[in-house]
Amino acid sequence: MTAPTLFDYKEVVGPEIIGELMILASHVGSRSIKMVNSTAVGGGVAEMLHRIVPLLNDMGVQVKWDVIKADDEFFEITKTFHNALQGQEGYFEEDIFKSYLAYNEKNSHEIDFDEDLIVVHDPQPAALIHWNQDGKNRWVWRCHIDMSHPNPQLWGFLKPYVEQYDAAIFSSALFSPELAIPQYRFYPAIDPLDDKNRELDSSYVDRVLVKYGIPRDKPIVTQISRYDPWKDPVGVVQAFKLAKKYVDCRLLLVGDKAADDPEAEKILERVKAEAGDDPDIHILLFSPSVATEINAFQRASDIILQKSLREGFALTVSEALWKARPVIGGAVGGIPAQIIDGYTGLLVHSVEGASLGIRTLLTQPDLAKRLGENGYQRVKDEFLITKNLKRYLLLLLALDRPREHTIFLK
């Protein structure tokens, strides 16, 4: 299948929205952007860049994407950086910092930075700017991780590099640290036309359910998440069991297994133990999952849970809402931005709350339908890739006029 063009999104968001994007793009003109990150495949950032780069090019913005070159040693270091910036404790030897900087310096000389705007994604290439400060272009650091409680030692090392940028972008005010440079908010976004979100034939959905032995004789309640303690899959089973005393339903747990992840195995064992021999609980483990099958599981579900105890942005919520499914989410991380409690879904704080949510939605189908429809609209308004295209165009315009609060384009 060929990748969708900007034109294909007209049917999804409306021609007037695409028309206005094109007007903004005409004001941006042929200005250029370079995206820089650390991997071309795997992970949400690369997935997003694969979509957003061609679409910006469709609008006439000249966008290039470069991936830094490094070996396993560097990625071992940046993996520990990633965890520490999200709050994990630990101490870093000076050699670690030297090595990180050496890789960044080497890449800074190998990549051309001739574009008007350089967008550097995440901590791995964050120091690239240090060797490129001739002031001929603008540099923005796009941080996709939760930096609200970074490891102080590591942040003390990285912050002076980050503050060399013209601006930083975070996914939420919840995730941003204190910085002396302007910060913008870009919500993460889903692509409504990718395999995980596009419309599916109902016959395909049926076949997927048959393939995995999931009968459709009763309502299906689903959580799609890694088997990770913060996603609380054990709590999901407990909430389901409480709810089942009142409403007959099935539970579907779907999760990916990362290679060499012994913790996932332990959690999975606990989930299975909690589930016991209940034939209405279906536990699926993929390595990796197929996007269209995940899409099918969501579309076949009557309720989708994301009962996290701690979260990043949790775009799985937007994926479910996009399919107009009623969603019950833990009130953590980016979930409340997507679920406005009682309007676009239900927010919960406990196993009991999740159980009550399941019972409520299964016995009040009108409410479930309304929450799903409202949630769909909320995603359409805020969490689609077209909104992020607009944000990049606005960023280009705003960086040209750093002191203006209102920019009138003639």
């Binding site: 028309g19 206005e20 007007i23 913008y184 429809e373 359409k380 607009k390 609060h405 209102t406």
Partner: protein, 222 residues
């Protein structure tokens, strides 16, 4: 023939300020000292948070006071501010301060409460741009209304009053001054923006224009 009406639209880029409030005292200080654009974002821009789904939602500030401080009476008073009455941020800011300070007199204990989750102060950059849609008379205006974006609706009916500093939306001003139809202009100006979504607002304006055409048709026949 009156002036041609060119539809404009607007878009916004949200800025994180790093400033937070955990209490009503903090909130009051933020409201007193923040830029006009922050007040705009947390009040007028709130209309944009739900474009098509109606919520009683015209103030981030009121929502935080309600949900995180559980001060429902104060939240209701903040929510009840009719934004259409304000054509300057200065006036709106003073009203917000007045309501919160009055509440201190009535319920001083509320100022001792500390929220678990702070109110995050945002700022905003607005970009206003011309679209390629033009209305020459009421017929063409009516015809174009269903095709403009909700952002264009929002700009002309809600945001522009801050630029023009008029207690009137662009649509009714144009209909009154350029088309010389003051009755219809008055009806459009009187729409309660607090109870409509942007799509609902558009439908209501279309309905008022259709009713006007019908009345004119009946008058013509008589």
């Amino acid at each position: 023939m009156g002036k041609v009406f060119q539809f404009l639209s607007s878009a916004s880029l949200e800025k994180l300020t790093g400033q937070k409030a955990y209490s009503l005292e903090d909130l009051l200080n933020l409201i007193k000292t923040c830029p006009d654009s922050s007040i705009f974002y947390h009040t007028f821009s709130a209309f944009l948070k739900m474009l098509e789904v109606h919520l009683p939602y015209n103030s981030d500030i009121a929502i935080w006071v309600s949900e995180k401080l559980n001060e429902k009476a104060l939240a209701e008073r903040l929510m009840a501010i009719d934004l259409s009455e304000y054509s300057t941020i200065k006036g709106l800011r003073m009203r917000l301060i007045e309501i919160i300070e009055n509440y201190r007199g009535q319920k001083p204990d509320a100022f001792q409460k500390i929220a678990n989750e702070p109110f995050y102060l945002y700022d905003i950059i607005r970009v206003v741009y011309l679209t390629d849609k033009f209305a020459y008379d009421l017929e063409s205006f009516r015809e174009l209304l269903p095709t403009i974006s909700v952002y264009s609706m929002y700009y002309h009916y809600i945001e522009s009053r801050l630029h023009t500093q008029l207690q009137s939306d662009d649509f009714s001003t144009w209909i009154e001054e350029s088309l010389n139809i003051p009755d219809l202009a008055k009806r459009i100006r009187k729409i309660d923006i607090n109870v409509y979504t942007l799509k609902g607002l558009r439908s209501r304006i279309i309905q008022l224009i259709d009713e006007y055409f019908k009345e004119m048709g009946q008058k013509g026949q008589a």
